[in-house]
Symmetry: C2
């Protein structure tokens, strides 16, 4: 078997059995090996941002890595923005990047680039395999690195001759250490804060937002009077009726400060001290007052669920009852199509066990009240701030969970970054309903202009508007094989969303707001 | 004036008066400054690959830099692939990359990334401005760096507070040294080779492919019997009737070796020794035989035109007459639409002074014989091997040369990488005719599979085919405001191309081959 086949077999044996890909010449032997190895599902993206964003969505839902297969430095570079998002989401991913044959690199051919340098800013581990017999071992190591807490990005660079030369078989994935247990001192310190009688905020992040630890935090809140919230850049939150609801920190600096200003202690469980998304003149970067003392219960690398259980025991909340979310859905609305009527329709119609991939930006900030009483579901948020995440992420989540409906909420500006992902949804018959918030502007930037104190004129505003010419997402979706309709009233949107949820396979609704 | 305004004014005073952009929050003050400074044209792209690819097309045509304005690390990363192409094309570009405020960077906000690390693989010069008073000077230095031979990429990173804090006015661009003159020894060595009586190949690259040096090389050929060719990764070639025709080195290794095998000497004028695009098992990387001696007349950093003139004098070719290309156009064809009938239509109809941006990949390899006798025109080729170059490059070329027709030839696989560029063409009413070679496959990869000796099965082939579902480029183009038609016969294509050439503004033809 050649190096490529040894790698594909090592990946499959190591439980990495989905590969999102856009291959080129240097990845030919990897592709050819797919026909000799059972058990690897290969999913083609028409642009590498789709490939890496899909791997992010897959990893968030599966808590295990998919592989990506990328073509040399530029192919990797095209995927860097969504790898940035995935890195901030702590998503496990194994990138396989094809490179020129070892002896060809020094000839400076057109595609020659410093692949390791491109990989490092978005990788926790980078290695270039030196020869074919090393490839299996390096692949196994990459899997172990990706699986290490809190979820890491491993990039394995594969010179073409290491793929086509003879190898020596597969390799076993090294043992991966479980997340660290937290120390007694940390738990005691947090317990003291909770018992101090002063107002406490418990801020959850990463795996702390799964149903189990949320319920534990809810018990602590019931026993101590603490408030529980979610970090703003939450990778995946389990929400809905019967679960404990932790609202997200606000995005807007003044709103966040208004929330945190009430607290004397902030207990961090998988979250960091909240910071502003951007700096604004005259406003702070850190979103807690100086009078608020931070206490780290668990970092993202720790066993967050275990730490919360320990803390619950410590503060006598073992037998407490969390106030769980009551079931309740909003009524459908009529009349103009607005952000609120879209929210009401989603809240009214969201199927049980749905996955919501949320890149709705300004359009989606008001969704929580409409949806928190829906049947249980998962919600995926932006973590790295790079737009173009939504369509690929929804695609990957649908590949990961074929029996769950995926709702993909995307701003029009964001959608145009990785619109090619719709084609992959059509090809793989992904069960994704995409809602485009078509406000024909980078709406967030008009607000940001004011926030940073700039005095914009017409030329500046022209850089933020998408209305010259208007984008027609129905035609673009149809051009990539995805059924699509436009909704201009609340009634039209309600009907379109109900129909899309009732069907199977990809649908797109262009919501004209 | 704040730092942002000092930079915009410095750019305009330094003759950088077009800015391709996709801004975000950290670039707000730069955008706001556009309304206070006359003379900067800002062009919005809906994805940064469009932005940087357009800057490449602009720079190739203008021989001076455009600016790009990009949003933090991920925004830059999205533009890296086309910056890679631009770097290999020796295109001058000034990148302005917004960054968090200096005091905000260490808080690891979602968008925080190592921007310098992302920039270095595709930049010759990288600097982060430390404060507002430094911004103008750093901007002036960036312009000088970009303008240095052979054409370089300068990346200036602008923390938000350096943009919004008070600055001290503009800065003057430092003097840029002209390209180096070559040494007498080099010229003598090349002249000796030409006079040796042994077969000589003169290989031209970079600015050696402009009309003047081409004609000089043609005189040398007439006087000495040498053969003149173009490097394969040629950034811009001036071609057509009345000019000297230098055919490109073939892409396919065996074809290239068959060409070079005849020569005992290769004289390099702005070109490097030809190397294979990729390595293939059992085939050489270097595409000249060991018996062929290389002679460097001029590197890409040298005064290539001056070196050729000197060489012409040295071999007594000053008064020789180059055999210039005769005018002649192929007849239009009828019947099936094929690569050949498309070539004939282009050759028959190409307007005088057109700019052809060629990312036709397999579809375009046969175009040269059809077009070499057309009225004078420019031809832009791929230089870095990263696909997704064509639509943005054509857009930038059209912005650079509004009075010239741009013909954008794009493979369907390549077109999907940066399809968003069509919207910018519509918005700016770019005079671009896009021809999509719709063979519904990454056709080149089927050939490459054979070339690397892989034995592919159906799963491998499935990764290279774009026919499930079929892409509809007419709908996608219309969705972005570009007129589009589909051509399924030669007659339909001939009519569509004639109509598109007769009109103004963007048109797209989906050529079903």
């Amino acid at each position: 078997m050649n190096g490529a086949e040894s790698l594909v077999r090592t990946l499959v044996e190591g439980d990495v059995d989905v590969c999102f890909t856009n291959p080129g010449t240097s990845e030919m032997h990897f592709c050819a090996a797919l026909d000799r190895v059972d058990g690897m599902r290969c999913v083609l993206g028409l642009f590498e941002g789709v490939v890496t964003g899909a791997a992010d969505g897959y990893g968030r839902m599966m808590d295990k890595p998919a592989a990506t297969l990328l073509h040399t430095g530029p192919g990797l570079a095209n995927g860097v923005a969504n790898l940035h998002n995935a890195k901030k989401a702590k998503t496990p991913i194994v990138n396989i990047v094809g490179e020129h044959a070892t002896y060809h690199i020094n000839h400076d051919a057109p595609l020659t680039a410093d692949i390791e340098a491109i990989a490092w800013p978005v990788s926790h581990w980078v290695k270039t395999s030196p020869d074919a017999p090393s490839v299996a071992c390096d692949g196994a190591q990459a899997i172990a690195e990706a699986r290490s807490a809190p979820g890491r990005i491993a990039t394995l660079i594969l010179p073409a001759d290491t793929a086509w030369n003879e190898a020596e078989g597969t390799a076993k994935v090294p043992e991966v250490a479980p997340p660290d247990s937290v120390g007694e001192g940390q738990v005691r310190d947090c317990a003291d804060a909770l018992r101090s009688g002063e107002p406490c905020l418990i801020l959850l992040g990463h795996h702390g937002l799964r149903a189990g630890p949320l319920e534990t935090a809810g018990r602590i809140a019931a026993a101590t009077g603490a408030t529980v919230m979610s970090e703003f850049p939450a990778s995946r939150a389990e929400r809905g009726a019967g679960r404990f609801t932790a609202e997200r920190m606000p995005y807007v600096v003044d709103q966040a400060l208004a929330v945190t200003g009430k607290f004397k202690h902030i207990i961090l469980a998988g979250a960091k001290i909240p910071v502003a998304f951007f700096a604004y003149p005259g406003k702070p970067s850190v979103l807690i007052p100086e009078s608020c003392r931070p206490h780290v219960l668990a970092t993202e690398e720790d066993d967050i669920a275990g730490a919360l259980e320990w803390l619950a025991d410590e503060v006598g909340a073992a037998g407490a009852r969390a106030v769980l979310q009551e079931a309740g859905r909003p009524d459908l609305r009529t009349g103009d199509l607005t952000i609120e009527s879209i929210g009401a329709a989603i809240g009214n119609l969201l199927p049980e066990n749905a996955i919501v991939s949320d890149e709705s930006i300004t359009g989606g900030r008001a969704l929580s009240p409409f949806t928190r009483g829906c049947a249980p579901h998962d919600w995926l948020f932006g973590t790295g701030g790079s737009i173009g995440r939504g369509i690929p992420e929804a695609t990957g989540a649908a590949i990961a969970c074929p029996d769950r409906k995926v709702l993909s909420l995307v701003g029009d500006g964001s959608a145009m970054y990785t619109i090619q992902g719709l084609w992959t949804q059509a090809r793989e018959n992904c069960d994704v309903v995409t809602v485009i918030y078509a406000n024909r502007t980078y709406a967030i930037l008009h607000g940001e202009l004011r926030n940073v104190g700039a005095n914009p004129g017409p030329k500046a505003h022209d850089m933020f508007d998408l209305d010259r010419p208007n984008l027609d997402f129905v035609k673009m979706a149809q051009g990539m094989g995805v059924d699509a309709v436009r909704a201009e009233t609340a009634e039209q949107f309600n009907r379109a969303l109900a129909a899309a949820f009732a069907g199977k396979g990809p649908h797109l609704i262009e919501a004209m707001i």
